[in-house]
Symmetry: C2
């Protein structure tokens, strides 16, 4: 692990100048600050707080609402702050734009901004900084994203394999034999993981698992128009959706088409957004406990800052049954007999 | 979550009697204690400590040495205790025998013994209590074992996929094109996971990944005698072993057969046991940071006790390079040219 002394030695300057440059003191020239930060990044230096020094971390948020209790990110950030702030950390929220990512390498941004670590919510695989995470020195927690082989990076989320298995096993128990899957585009780690988890769950539960039972598209409307008729034609009596918003659109679409849910089609979502209680019918879904996820993310980040290299921290998934999933053909036949 | 009141109501006795029976007070008959414990188990009650009450957890140890610093379990248990004891927990070590497991269901043992939670080291898939973990109420952390879908159970270990990938990627970098794998029998979760991780790593690194490149057997000597000649015949110039003891036996076997390591064969182990520094040559291996694993296991257990349902907590793997892996055919050719 590189120290301020290493940086000073490399540049042939004093440790005091390095310290000033990294803490943003006014009496260091911009040129000097730039070469100190660049050398720090090159040597893999990351900020370690000393007693009395202020401790700052940030949460990067991309395309994700988090300002109101009903927003997806709200509870995660609240859970994170609940542990961070009493622990003496200042938590900043930073909007994660492509512009920011293109303007500066990640480690350099972290050092210049004086952050000791960060949590990322809502990254896609194409985000420019994704490549930086393979080698970054700054302690980094990725929610629903995975970067292996860098001891400075932790993945936090729920166990998607377990969640999908709970949904499929329950549908099988309800008498469904053909279960379909609809997803947004597979351009992010989490949707790839859930897609794979769906087929894993079908095989675990000994249900048909042909690729044609799943459909995905970039736009949700396109996904429904293109794949729903196909899944129904193939005899699916239940559909799991990659996330609640898609499940909610599916419910509305079924209402328009006169398909009764759960009478003719059972629907299960993923995430348990606050809106699930208010859809028609209320949506059965796989729950992510977002407050606990936020707390776990802070635990992981503080562990990384203390040099405990956590790779993965997953919470158990939970199936929340409301009213959008009901008996399937097998169960109905049994009940009629 | 069942409470003492629920147990009292079910049995038509007072809450005080339930409390006494569960805490092992002398003025409760053995018959009464038995029915209280059975009802507690049936209702899924698990012990929650109150302020001032002593808090006790246990570590079950099966066939695993842990009494001296050079033993595998030593550092895990030391790490666990380092967090548990200052946190006010008493930690007992319980030898895990098949006899114990056959004599009493797991939840009942935990309630009768007054433990609030436990850590298991060294279970095999055939252990009688493995079935209990699917539904147990007692907070339970399994080291290197996985039981999905029970919010009371957490898996702790290192990221084996990452570890195997580090080993294979390094061998490829060294110029090896045919990498083999030797393993003890696949009768435990961890050896199944590493076996799968080996093939995953070959594919990730675009190396040949035929099933014949791996061999396993119950006894280590049998494994070497049966599979080593086969792997060498197939042109393997490097072998990864499922754990360090097998790798150590392979080094000795090579010495006897006059096969130079790493000159003719590169060997990489798994675990980084203390002995790896003393083998001939010193063994390159995938490291498990056992002290941090012990601490993480306690974090996971205390989280479960506080009702935060952690499913999985994995630490980053690390490749420790000593002297048993060296340049392979591709690299040697290049160097000779």
């Amino acid at each position: 692990m590189a120290t301020m002394d290493d940086i000073a030695r490399r540049l042939g300057i004093s440790r005091g100048t390095v310290s000033k440059a990294l803490s943003g003191a006014a009496d260091v020239s911009e040129t000097m600050r730039k070469s100190v930060v660049e050398t720090a990044v090159e040597l893999g230096y990351s900020r370690i707080s000393r007693t009395g020094e202020s401790r700052r971390v940030c949460v990067f948020v991309e395309n994700m609402a988090y300002e109101k209790p009903e927003d997806f990110g709200w509870e995660i950030i609240t859970g994170f702050r609940k542990l961070a702030e009493p622990g003496g950390y200042q938590v900043d929220i930073v909007p994660l734009t492509e512009e920011l990512q293109r303007s500066i390498p990640y480690d350099e941004y972290m050092l210049r901004s004086g952050y000791q670590g960060s949590l990322f919510l809502g990254l896609s695989l194409l985000d420019p900084w994704m490549a930086d995470f393979r080698t970054c020195a700054a302690p980094t927690v990725l929610y629903d994203n995975q970067v292996r082989s860098n001891p400075a990076v932790t993945q936090v989320g729920i166990d998607n394999i377990e969640g999908m298995d709970l949904a499929v096993a329950r549908l099988k128990e309800l008498g469904h034999r053909k279960v379909g899957y609809l997803s947004t585009a597979l351009g992010s780690y989490i949707y790839q993981a859930r897609y794979a988890a769906f087929f894993h769950a079908l095989r675990q539960n000994k249900l048909p698992a042909q690729r044609e039972l799943a459909g995905y598209a970039f736009r949700l409307t396109e996904c429904l128009e293109k794949h729903l008729p196909r899944l129904l034609d193939r005899g699916c009596t239940a559909i799991i959706c990659s996330h609640d918003l898609l499940a909610h659109m599916l419910l509305i679409h079924c209402l328009e088409l006169g398909i009764s849910v759960p009478g003719q089609l059972s629907v299960i979502g993923f995430d348990d957004l606050p809106l699930c209680q208010y859809t028609i019918p209320p949506l059965s879904t796989v729950r992510q406990n977002r407050t606990e996820l936020g707390k776990s993310a802070f635990y992981a980040l503080s562990s990384l800052i203390e040099r405990t290299p956590i790779s993965t921290l997953l919470l158990h998934a939970e199936l929340v049954e409301r009213r959008s999933a009901g008996p399937g053909p097998d169960r109905e036949t049994t009940e009629q007999q």
